[in-house]
Symmetry: C2
Amino acid sequence: MIGLSRASSKLKTEHYFMNHIAIIGCGLIGRGWAIVFARSGYNVTLFDTHPQALDRALTHIGESMTRLNELGLLNGDPKELCNNIVYTESLETAVINADYVQENITEDVELKKHFYKKLDQITKPECILASSTSSIITSVFGFELKGRNRCIVVHPVNPPHLIPLVEISPAPFTDDSVIERTIDLQKSVKQKPILIKKEIPGFVLNRLQAAVLLESWQLVKEGYISVEDLDKTIKDGLGHRWAFMGPFETIDLNAKNGIAEYADTFGEKYRKMMKNERYSSWDDTLIKKITASRRDIISKTDLGTREKWRDTLLAELLVHKISSVKKYGE
Amino acid sequence: MIGLSRASSKLKTEHYFMNHIAIIGCGLIGRGWAIVFARSGYNVTLFDTHPQALDRALTHIGESMTRLNELGLLNGDPKELCNNIVYTESLETAVINADYVQENITEDVELKKHFYKKLDQITKPECILASSTSSIITSVFGFELKGRNRCIVVHPVNPPHLIPLVEISPAPFTDDSVIERTIDLQKSVKQKPILIKKEIPGFVLNRLQAAVLLESWQLVKEGYISVEDLDKTIKDGLGHRWAFMGPFETIDLNAKNGIAEYADTFGEKYRKMMKNERYSSWDDTLIKKITASRRDIISKTDLGTREKWRDTLLAELLVHKISSVKKYGE
């Protein structure tokens, strides 16, 4: 283990002092988490069963750190911050000293249950067991565990080092102190945690995304709009507001007397407008049609380049938003 | 009438040369439209029945132009561009030479029908009659007119000079050439027109907004999340992507093999997740609860200041996006 020194006093909270973070699985999400914790000075141990995946991950992380530094998004030298990350092919070594485990394994219920059973046995009893899952609630993967009170979902947006929102979804059996420490930890690494107060499929972010996607697919299916124009409706329209305001603040500022006036004027209209929506399946014909529209706009071979474009724009938007908050407040 | 000189040759299209724009009604939307056309060099005539409203509008427009200039969003001197705008209290004078009328009167079906009957009589037959309405379709306000073939909805996002999207929604009886000329005109003033191919209540933007709002209110009502945290889900999460990508591009880039793979993985999951949604009314209790949450975050007296904050952030986001597009493409 190398590079374990850091300014630890800064990270102390009144609830609990968390020092060692273990990241399980180093795909896209795991790598992002490693950056999130390492750039804030935490000791990160990265685990994966595939040694090649670990090598690749460290290369990716190094490149991302350099880029973040160029954008002014790092407090410190990128190489030094990378030294906060060590890696191992031994699960036991990765978690034995961990105060917090962030798990990113495959989305499979039985696999997760089995894995958490093991984690529960080999971690310190006070270590928080957090899952990046987007679809398996804490009540499901943690239910049978002796240490289920320390299990919690901590669902990031991809990639977590460029998009700050994190959904915190505890089970009814999760300790309050675990919820508090998890939220504090996320705040200490400059993420934006939100609390899902009762478990629900899709949590909140993917339910909002699903609401938009189901309506979008239906509108294209029924011939009201093209794929390209639908995308413009968000990126050149609603997305300009939603980049820095949520839907409640948006409507609160859109009526002279605030949100109640807006609700009186539009609430029933919207409900009537949408109440006959019965979203049909995204069948093969529709998937082919929408895929063809997308491939007209961008070819399959150009998707990789476009992903890099997206990550560049996400990073630059983050820089822009940080500068806006400094100038005008949040 | 003053200040009618401009570099008209730049604006010529192959379809039709539009020179004189009449803006009917000078509230928030009308003022925004006046800026949109005047900053691109068009001759704008502003009409309102209230002389005080006209005076106030010109003051507001002057201030907005100065601010746009400070942000580098104008091609030209703000005062000179303001000279492209004249105003009148006579409807006939406003529209007699108009090639394009942008109407922004009250959202009332009978009032609109009556008004368009008059417009149809006093405008040149080739003049396009465009409505900013968000709720009354062209088939309704234009149906009985002799010149209904030149009627069309051109629905902006508020404020139009800071958010470029415009929904173009023709009736089946609208001439194709009118649709084309309207789209060309919007492109010539750097707005982003999208075509609603068949009329539908709420067009597309407000249907997507309604989908998000109905789910948001329901989630708060049922106690899954607070108002503040729901807003964060968008502004610190989904909104980071949607500021420059639509929902289709987002999912196309979120699966290794593109949108079809994403649809296979998530399509049915999302449909099942959302299919039991029966959105209840936004009743008084709920409206009071959500209003109280918002008033905890920001007091009623501070709403005006917050609106200015919003417009500043919208303007700065526009500057940021224009610079991003220059550097990285759209």
